[in-house]
């Protein structure tokens, strides 16, 4: 009999999350919204409009369309680093599950999809608020949904690599400080990339978040992205390669 062995593991995480819904909502949604309001309206009053190619865009829309990608990234990353590590290493939840007929690969797949789901849930709630505030009202935003789920998948795969390598929570500081934080500033979330020096712009083009923003921002402006297949291709490549590495390293970790 064929059955999806990852599903009960995914469901387990969902059931725990349901119990801790309120603090989880505050951490995942209230905080990005505070940033948006403070920077969008506060900085927006200073900056006014941002030039994006041929068009002038209100700063709050510019920021909202970038920060929604950042929220997807952060939600997936936190879940696949801290929470997955707690389950894997501290609580030994994975060990318990693998005494049942569930493979390590199934557990890892469940963790990956779960972190992506959390990203999707977070951005859905934020999108709803943005819609309510009138920041974005294009029907094209429906397309943002599957794309942001994909962004969640990419960043949970990346985070699971570091999960597999970690000896303790402190290790994740490297990932945040050396990878996520610079990427946040280099992916066009807060300011357009054209003002940056050539070399840094090239570097920015290699970062997954840049391509996520390139896909999502036009949707906020009621436009379709340029070269969508290129951006999606980069994200798929990042996700695919990161998943293979995460799987390999996690198997190695559990071989000991």
């Amino acid at each position: 009999m064929m059955r999806l062995r990852f599903w009960p593991v995914f469901l387990r995480n969902f059931l725990v999350w349901k119990k801790l819904l309120i603090p989880s909502l505050i951490a995942n949604i209230a905080e990005p919204l505070m940033w948006l309001v403070a920077f969008g309206y506060g900085m927006g009053a200073l900056v006014g409009e941002v030039r994006l190619g041929e068009q002038q865009v209100p700063y709050i829309v510019f920021l909202a369309s970038g920060s929604i990608c950042m929220s997807a990234m952060n939600a997936a990353t936190f879940e696949a680093l801290y929470s997955a590590f707690s389950r894997m290493h501290v609580q030994k939840t994975w060990d318990g599950i693998m005494n049942a007929p569930v493979r390590l690969d199934d557990v890892l797949l469940a963790e990956m999809l779960w972190a992506a789901f959390k990203a999707l849930f977070t951005v859905s709630a934020i999108l709803l608020v943005m819609f309510g505030l009138g920041i974005a009202q294009s029907w094209k935003l429906l397309m943002a949904w599957p794309i942001l789920l994909g962004v969640g998948v990419v960043f949970s795969c990346l985070a699971l690599i570091f999960n597999a390598l970690a000896k303790g929570y402190d290790f994740f500081t490297y990932y945040f400080t050396l990878f996520l934080t610079p990427m946040m500033f280099l992916s066009g979330v807060f300011f357009p990339l054209d003002t940056l020096p050539e070399a840094i712009r090239l570097l920015a083009q290699c970062l997954p978040l840049t391509h996520a923003v390139a896909l999502i921002r036009p949707l906020f402006l009621d436009q379709w992205p340029n070269a969508p297949w290129l951006h999606m291709g980069v994200l798929v490549l990042y996700g695919g390669v990161a998943w293979q590495i995460a799987l390999h390293l996690t198997r190695k970790r559990f071989k000991q």
């Binding site: 059955r3 059931l15 609580q91 939840t93 318990g96 049942a100 007929p101 493979r103 071989k255």
Partner: protein, 307 residues
């Protein structure tokens, strides 16, 4: 005769240069309780992990229900119950939810799990704690919940890694009683333990391992009779040198000194006890030889690095 539930043949595992498990072979027959005893670092837990397919052996093979591990790991685990050394209960779920969530890993339906829930909680003496979370449970309750969780799929074979370590005597006795019940139901049990009274009480057969090798195997009472003199007299409080080298030697077959205590192993204790009265100021304890004596004789008294 029915085939063994579990069969390990020439199992070998190396970590770097260190041979952790060295050509270990044993079988567990249906309905039997087999105990694996050995000092810390003897290779018990590594053997346990190889039986579960979690660690790949460098040599040898494991078969469970006549199927190869790890190739048939999923099919084997459908019929296996496992309690590992450290609790891996879900801290965010109640006792009942822990069982419900675990049952789903076996592909069981909600109704099937629900049907087993109350009898399992009762078996674990946790009916009154169905809605309590593991954090609110005592050590013994947690272990019993782990055992109940391992029984959710009604397994025919149970693998238990130190199921009573860290429990108080009451909790240990309750655990033993439950394991006896499971044996009476016809289940087979492989058990690792540090407690010789546990091994003697529960196990039909024992496997003594040290440095990854099997150094003895057999029924507990027979092993004691085979390797030891029936009586032990422990003497404390005297000059160990004088006691062990003096005229008492003729009354004992074997003498061991450990710290301030002299152990006399003898066929008949009476002459020795009479001779001891010539040594004022020493205290003595006369008792039958037990599994602990056997264990210490076979594996030595020195503390292991890992201990």
């Amino acid at each position: 005769m029915s085939p063994p539930q579990l069969q390990c043949e020439h199992l070998t595992k190396r970590f770097g240069d260190h041979l952790v498990v060295n050509d270990l072979s044993f079988e567990l027959l249906p309905g039997e309780c087999l105990g694996v005893i050995g000092p810390n670092g003897a290779g018990k837990t590594t053997t346990f992990r190889m039986c579960l397919g979690l660690t790949a052996p460098d040599g040898g093979s494991v078969r469970i229900f006549d199927q190869p591990m790890p190739q048939q790991a999923l099919a084997i685990k459908e019929r296996l119950g496992v309690v590992s050394q450290f609790d891996s209960l879900d801290p965010d779920f109640s006792c009942a939810e822990n069982l419900m969530v675990y049952g789903r890993y076996f592909g069981m339906s909600r109704a099937d799990i629900q049907a087993r829930l109350s009898s399992l909680l009762e078996f674990a003496a946790l009916s009154h704690k169905a809605n309590a979370k593991p954090g609110e449970l005592s050590g013994g309750m947690k272990r019993r919940l782990s055992l109940a969780r391992a029984l959710i799929n009604n397994p025919s074979l149970l693998l238990l890694d130190e199921p009573t370590t860290g429990l108080d005597p009451q909790a240990r006795h309750l655990m033993w009683e439950r394991l006896q019940q499971l044996l009476q139901q016809g289940k087979s049990i492989l058990l690792t333990t540090h407690f010789m009274d546990e091994a003697e009480r529960l196990c039909d057969r024992l496997l003594v391992v040290d440095h990854g090798r099997k150094i003895a195997e057999g029924q507990p009472r027979k092993l004691i009779a085979e390797h030891l003199e029936p009586d032990v007299v422990e003497v404390y409080g005297g000059d160990t040198q004088a006691l062990s080298q003096g005229d008492l030697r003729s009354h004992a077959q074997r003498i061991e000194v450990s710290g301030d205590t002299v152990f006399f192993y003898t066929q008949t204790a009476q002459p020795l006890l009479q001779a001891l009265s010539a040594y004022p100021g020493v205290r003595s304890l006369h008792r039958p030889a037990n599994l602990e004596d056997l264990f210490l004789k076979l594996t030595g008294r020195q503390i292991r690095e890992e201990g």
